[in-house]
Amino acid sequence: MTFLLGSGAGFSGDRTDAAIPVVAELIRRGQPAALIFETLGERTLAAAHRAMRDDPEAGFEPLLEELLAPVLDDCLKHGIAILGNFGAANPEGACRLVAGLVADTERGTASIGQVHGDDIRARLGELELQRWEAESRELPGEEALISANVYLGAAPLVEALALGAEVVVSGRVADPALFLAPLVHHFGWAWDDWDRLAAGMMAGHLGECGAQVTGGYFADPGVKDVPGLATVGYPIIEVEEDGSLVVTKPAGTGGMVTARTVKEQLLYEVHDPANYLTPDVVVDLSAVTVREIGPDRVAVSGIRGKPAPQRLKTTVCYEGGWQGEAEISYAGPNALARAQLAAEVLRERLAFRAPSELRSRLDIVGHASVFDSDAGDLQRSVQGNASGDYRLRLAAEHAERRWVERATQELLALYCAGPAGGGGVRRQYQRRVCTASYLVKRSDVNAFATLFDASLFETKMANERRAAHAN
């Protein structure tokens, strides 16, 4: 029997009403189903750790309540399991919030599963670490380390479902593992059934970014148009026991599912397509095919799997000092020259008003910015419109807050002391959390699940399981 995987969110900051039509469609179909919230990336994990440093109660998905509240009641009523990595840096805090939301539902009670084991910060010094292949950064000293989280696979999520969890809260698990887990739980796939595991992971890969497979992040007006982006339907992936996949979306929603929307997402964040590394399986996409089989229905086949890697990727977060930004606009006659003069003045000021180790970058938004180098090669070489609408942007970074403040204040001072007609200054600065990617041995990772007891965090069960794993 077909299992349905619905996506409720594809990143932290995603639309908080996206899950509603997905859940309505899952209920309408009446087949076994799960709803997945994927809200954790390299940027958001770092942000969660930053938030938790300032407030120990924070550190999980800030939109968790807005995401879950509209659909929780329906999911509990209809047996639709909810899985999310919305625990981020603080799964326990997220469980507490979910428990509160559950109390407000009609049923008033539910089993909440918590995944443990991704946080290896305390053991980092003892573990044998390898640098991830594209990582050039050295690990910082102990004093600068904030966190280390392993990308867990689906096993602890499956364990949570097996314990009876109706809502599963995790921190750092590999995004697609959230989708693979209910499939393994439902179909009873073996952990060495590589082709099926690979298909399940790719169901996750296609669904994990929400609307990115259903017409979101795809539209290019007049070239590739997408209907109804304001109400784009988030994906539903239909999976069969043999690993066959169909990508679709709820009826009556905007967006579209075509071979093209699916192809773009298929290779999203993939490096070698013959060796896409996930914690549970190495996926081989060399022979994959994508076929439109009906309106908003695309079948994906030819996914192959190879044995799981022996090492798991770990995101290490560490103190990155302070980072700030400030901007000012110039528009109308001779605006480009005025913005360029402002940049020159600022550069000159920073050279004697800030220490030499201040790292900074100047963009002229509207002229050359996102494609440019840090040194501004394009800004100097590209021919611009003399009378456009430009925004000079300064970004600065330093270990000490005061120098970042000083740098952004120098931009502010362009109001009175810079070129004519500058306006609309905005400035902000914040702590920066940097990340580096390392690999740990699979055998060094101890992932497991417990049922969350709202009244007692260190549950007896958790202690027993931990003791059992240690043996």
Binding site: V257, L267, Y268, V270, E292, P295, R359
Partner: protein, 119 residues
């Protein structure tokens, strides 16, 4: 069927130099300081032009000003596409860069601005 699948793409006369944007669509993804650009021909008959002209060398040159150190290209003929993996091009990546777009999400359209000659 979805409207987009039936679209007639703007015609590209054989032998003419056009932006890649006329023949192909693309999406960027990031991991650390590494960018991948997935590029797909709209029409199968243009795939060979992409294979011949969107080479590792040309892509490296296009991103050289941003410090790109290496480009690897993986061809996906079954999808009429390719995956371009570019190292050290994100100026530090999402948690290390000073640029506006630390993910490098906009860079798919830097690639699509590349000139290609239709066959």
């Amino acid at each position: 069927m979805p409207t987009e699948a039936n679209r007639v793409m703007p015609s590209a006369t054989a032998g003419r130099e056009v932006p890649l944007h006329r023949l192909a669509h693309a999406r960027a993804g990031d991991k650390g300081d590494r960018l991948n650009l997935a590029l797909f021909a709209y029409e199968p008959q243009h795939y060979q032009a992409l294979v011949a002209q969107v080479t590792e060398e040309r892509v490296l040159a296009l991103f050289a000003h941003r410090g790109a150190s290496r480009v690897r290209r993986y061809l996906m003929p079954g999808l009429c596409g390719m995956n371009l993996v570019i190292d050290d091009v994100l100026q530090g990546g999402v948690n290390g860069a000073l640029n506006l777009d630390g993910h490098g999400k906009t860079l798919s359209f830097l690639l699509l601005g590349m000139s290609v000659v239709t066959e």
